[in-house]
Amino acid sequence: MFARFLTLLGTPVVSFFTYVGEVVVLASETFASIVAQKIRWRLFLHQIVEIGLRSQLVVMITGAFTGAVFAAQTFFQFNKLGMGSAVGAVVSVSVCRELGPVLTALMVTGRVGASMSAEIGTMKVTEQIDALRALAVHPIDYLVVPRTLAMMLSMPLLVAECIGIGIAAGYFVAIFLLDVNGTYYVANMVRWTQMRDIIMGLSKAFCFALLIVFISCHKGLTSREGAVGVGKATTEAVVDSSLAVLIFNFFLTMALNVIFPAGYQ
């Protein structure tokens, strides 16, 4: 009875650590490949287009409406205290440190992570990955490295874009729709937003990029059982990447706040 209970409890724990171990091994093999093997720049550029360019609309809409709604909600509360002009600072700091990186990461997970997992998963179940191996091409060099490099470059740029558009949308809503004084709005925003807030947001973007790419590629590379397996791998890639982004965001916030403390100093 007790042994059965331990097995019941232990199996998911062992599975979880096995899964984390496999993702870490994939990450280490990818970095080893980046250092020691030739990089396929054509595939890297193709992935830049897929990840960076094709995510533009999604990121712009996410940034614009997040900044706009956040500015409106903050104004509705702050205005009661006569602090309407502080909205700019709140929107700017929040979008730089949290909303920009997290929401961009979640949108990229849905758009890019799912596509990576489905594409690699389909290659796996149709023997295309075996064909790569049989042609003396390592799947990590050919499939994972270009995606990793493209994500490492694209994500910080997408987050920077989301932050910029979010702040601009907040400004537009506050000044033109809610009638906040523009001079005080900008003065407060510039006073309270520091370079460290932007660096923190971009650092998070870089970490989220790695989480998304390794989880999604791992799910694709380990998918099985035909179309059902690919569908399952894709769903799991999106769910696991999203959860990983949200969980890591908390720990990153706590750790990065030591290096880049929040607030005016």
Binding site: T126, Q128, D130, A131, R133, A134, L135, A136
Partner: protein, 243 residues
């Protein structure tokens, strides 16, 4: 050229290969036949290191490939081409790009050289003028021929064929058989062919091995197989399910 010693493999608790011993000489064509699910494709995948055995050795050109890392296996894989059952073409690439893939990966950058070699391969597989088609627009037989062209463009010394005629009509099957024969004559490659198709087996084989219950039940020439009185072999040759 290729020697297999005591190869064993279990999949999902079931013993698929139980101590296979085989030798294939340079330039020889060995056809492996046997019932569906008998482990023929599993055996073939072991020969290029796509699967790892539970026990045994595989020697290719005097080197035991068991235990080699994926990167060290690359050198062996350059000598051995494999034609997968469904062709395993890269579906994001055209026919031309699929065939040129091994050349580009080997560092060939000259478009003229690549084009010439691809055209030569298209001529060998009798698919001239189809280079711009995507795999989704090809028939099963065409996919297999393109897969074959991709496997042989770098002139491997050995080619493995996994069910090259499965699911094809008799005319296309015959064209594939003739193609395999032509490759043997033109490039003098060592070939291992896994098939159920007895017509194909008799057409291309120097030797035939019958895989049964995880072991080699029969090994001999096509003539020896044809005259064998063994009821199991006769049932297989004549396609009899009951006696």
């Amino acid at each position: 050229m290729i020697a297999v010693r005591g190869l064993k493999k279990k999949l999902a608790g079931q013993e698929i290969l139980c101590g296979i011993d085989l030798t294939v000489a340079k330039g020889e064509t060995l056809v492996i036949i046997g019932r569906s699910g008998g482990g023929k494709s599993v055996l073939l995948k072991h020969l290029v290191g796509l699967m790892h055995p539970d026990a045994g050795e595989i020697w290719i050109d005097g080197e035991n490939i068991i235990g080699l890392s994926e990167r060290k296996l690359a050198a062996i894989r350059r000598k051995v081409g494999i034609l997968f059952q469904g062709g395993a073409l890269f579906d994001s690439m055209t026919v031309e790009e699929n065939i040129a893939f091994p050349l580009r990966e080997a560092g060939e950058r000259n478009p003229k050289t690549i084009r010439e070699k691809v055209n030569e391969m298209l001529e060998v597989i009798e698919l001239e003028g189809e280079q711009k088609k995507m795999p989704v627009n090809l028939s099963g037989g065409m996919k297999k021929r393109v897969g074959l062209a991709r496997s042989i463009i770098r002139r491997p010394s050995c080619i493995l064929y996994d069910e090259p005629t499965a699911g094809l009509d008799p005319v296309v099957s015959d064209s594939i058989n003739r193609l395999i024969r032509r490759l043997q004559e033109r490039f003098r490659v060592t070939s291992i062919v896994v098939t159920h198709d007895m017509k194909s087996a008799f057409h291309i084989a120097d030797h035939i091995a019958y895989l049964h219950q995880g072991g080699i039940y029969f090994y001999g020439t096509p003539q020896e197989l044809e005259i064998s009185p063994d009821p199991l072999l006769q049932d297989f040759l004549l396609g009899r399910s009951e006696r």
